[in-house]
């Protein structure tokens, strides 16, 4: 496995990464508009968005808001009416559309595996289009199947219909990653699988992304998925108007306007706790009285901790690291952390209005009343 990875690195330098620096490249949408003939309002209306290399950017919004259209313009499955789309500084509209798409991974909800081809041939498709030699392709196919948790020996020669939905989507992801594209476009990739499989796929997806650091544009209508997976979230309203473009933390603690608030839904504070891990808290020393209580691992989220406290009716639980109980966390600690997050958000409110960040979208202004006044683009 490591050998094949090394070979790939040497022959395909763009994919080389030591796990910390992104292999992805930046994407910039500059005034991109899509208007279908015969319609009054644009499906996507003058969207400006800057995506940093290696980020997962979630496009969330209600049905028909134009999020999928926005994504599909990046690989030109839909041609923009006007505006520029820059990938690593290069305008995609100046490139050959077919060749462009070979450099962009593409995963969709319907998966779209070729039913008449084996799993191996499915994953090998883009490398074959790019003219890689056979040995390198089969090496790469094996590697990719392993990455998505499918044993190549068992699955390579099967056909798609012999796989479950979850397995098929793993193949879909492997296929999109096969030619090591710097960018991935994913359109509700985990939307059609059962909730348990979805959670598992999401977790594994995050694991893989941590190593490969692609620039990923991910469309979903599920806000919880956006919070879980996104480095940044763009909440879109009709016509792909960006209501807010910010980190999940920011959106949860200070939604830009009523629309975003409505989309975040109830329990924003609880959702916020899902993003905080135990290691952000100062622990109390271990409490001998808690001998019988199952300790929580250090990497638990505060949401897990609260859940455990409520479930067991305790106001403090022990914390372990590598099997050793290293301390105790109390309900008071949790509440204190929530107060801190509030204060941080309030402090930000004072600064973001004056701060002009490149690519910052007016919606990031958290002041509800001022929200409408900030609609004009910077």
């Amino acid at each position: 496995m490591s050998e094949s990875a090394a070979t790939t690195t040497s022959t395909h330098p763009t994919g080389a990464t030591d796990g910390s620096e992104p292999s992805g490249v930046p994407i910039v949408l500059d005034g991109v508009t899509k208007k279908y003939p015969g319609t009054d309002s644009a499906a996507v209306d003058d969207i400006h968005l800057e995506i940093a290399p290696g980020d997962i950017v979630m496009l969330v919004g209600p049905s028909g808001c134009g999020k999928t259209t926005t994504m599909r313009m990046i690989n030109r499955l839909i041609e923009p009416t006007s505006g520029r789309i820059l990938i690593d500084g290069e305008d995609v509209l100046s490139l050959n559309d077919v060749k462009l798409r070979r450099t962009i991974g593409y995963v969709i909800q319907q998966i779209g595996l070729f039913p008449h081809l084996t799993i191996e041939a499915n994953v090998a498709m883009v490398p074959r289009l790019l003219g890689w030699d056979k040995a390198k392709i089969s090496e790469r196919v094996e590697e990719m199947l392993s990455v998505v948790g499918l044993d190549p020996a068992e699955f390579a020669h099967r056909y798609p219909r012999q796989l479950s939905g979850g397995q098929q989507q793993r193949v879909g992801v492997a296929r999109a990653l096969a030619a090591d594209p710097p960018i991935m476009l994913m359109d509700e990739p985990f939307g059609a699988v059962d909730p348990i499989t979805r959670t598992k796929l999401q977790d594994e997806f995050l694991n893989v992304q941590q190593q490969i650091k692609k620039t990923i544009v991910f469309v979903t209508h599920d806000f919880d998925e956006a919070v879980k997976l996104g480095d940044k979230i763009a909440v879109l309203d009709k016509g792909s108007r960006i209501a807010q473009y910010a980190t999940p933390e920011e959106i949860l603690t200070s939604p830009a306007d009523v629309f975003v608030e409505g989309f975040v839904g109830h329990g924003a504070t609880l959702k916020r706790l899902q993003l905080e891990r135990l290691d952000t808290l100062d622990l109390h020393s271990p409490d001998a009285a808690q001998q019988g209580v199952e300790p929580l691992p250090m990497r638990s989220t505060l949401h897990d901790v609260l859940d455990a406290m409520i479930a067991d009716g305790l106001d403090s639980v022990p914390v372990e690291r590598d099997g050793q109980v290293v301390g105790t966390v109390t309900l008071e600690d949790l509440l204190g952390r929530v107060r801190e997050l509030r204060a941080e958000a309030d402090a930000k409110k004072g600064t973001t209005t004056s701060e002009s960040r490149p690519g910052a979208i007016p919606g990031t202004t958290p002041d509800l009343d001022a929200g409408s006044g900030q609609e004009s683009r910077p």
Binding site: L77, K99, Q110, L113, H116, T118, S146, Q162, V208
Partner: protein, 270 residues
């Protein structure tokens, strides 16, 4: 590229997903099953019985000459050749036309082509043969062409349907991965349409077998050369023999078509 998971990660994930796997049943070894032999054996039995009957029956000299073994085999061979040529022409014309109709740039030809196909099938074949005989003369090719026009519609329609029924998600994925339109047509759409196109071709084959005898008067050859003289001369034994051979031929050709359809269908969708 460090897209490697640690061995333990990959291992556990694989184990877990393996649990949900359906038993691996490939049908490669079931490409032919013993029931496939029923139709050819039945045909063989019918033909043998008929030939035996003819050799025993009290036939007059005209009849004996009409249904001699030599004639039956020669006409059958002719019939097969004509049918084969017709189907090659039908496939060579209908599949490309069907493809053109499903391309966005050439979809405008659709009403014209379908009208042609419909007229071809709806027009009274005997009348058409008469007209062709008058205009183009007699012989092999006039009959081949008129019967081809008559049996083009099943292949044409099935080509269109076969391409249109390909899952839009598959096409979207193919486009999104950077397959060229030509690559998608030959690598995805046509392979996935094969079973349906082949079904149309089988229908065309059977149609052609059944219609070719009507061209007998244009001297194209085939088993019609037994049937029509038998009608005119009122020789029932010969009429039955000719009809039986045509029916058996249709059955056998359809059977071969079924085998070809199965063989040509990609394994993953078989």
């Amino acid at each position: 590229m460090t897209t490697t998971t640690t061995p333990s990660d990959a291992g556990t994930a694989t184990e877990q997903v393996s649990l949900g796997t359906a038993p691996l049943t490939t049908r490669r070894d079931r490409l032919f099953v013993w029931t496939d032999l029923i139709i050819p054996l039945l045909c063989l039995a019918i033909v043998s019985a008929e030939l035996y009957y003819l050799s025993q029956a009290p036939l007059d000299s005209i009849e004996r000459d009409l249904v001699s073994n030599a004639r039956i085999w020669q006409y059958t061979r002719e019939h097969i050749v004509i049918t084969f040529v017709i189907v090659v022409i039908v496939l060579a014309v209908a599949v490309p036309l069907g493809v053109l109709i499903t391309r966005r740039q050439t979809a405008w030809i659709s009403p014209f082509v379908l009208a042609f196909g419909n007229v071809g099938q709806a027009a009274p074949i005997v009348g058409l043969i008469a007209i062709v005989g008058i205009v183009f003369g007699i012989g092999f090719w006039p009959v081949v062409l008129i019967v081809a026009a008559f049996s083009i519609l099943p292949v044409l329609r099935n080509t269109i349907v076969g391409i249109q029924q390909v899952d839009v998600g598959v096409i979207d994925a193919a486009r999104g991965m950077g397959m060229s339109p030509r690559g998608i047509l030959f690598g995805v759409e046509l392979p996935l349409a094969v079973p349906i196109i082949a079904a149309g071709a089988r229908t065309s084959l059977v149609l052609a077998v059944a219609v070719v005898p009507l061209g007998t008067d244009l001297d194209a050859g085939g088993l019609g050369q037994i049937v029509f003289p038998a009608i005119k001369l009122d020789r029932t034994e010969a009429l039955v023999a000719g009809g039986l051979m045509i029916a058996v031929l249709a059955l056998l050709i359809d059977w071969l078509g079924a085998l070809a359809q199965r063989l040509l269908t990609p394994r993953g969708i078989r």
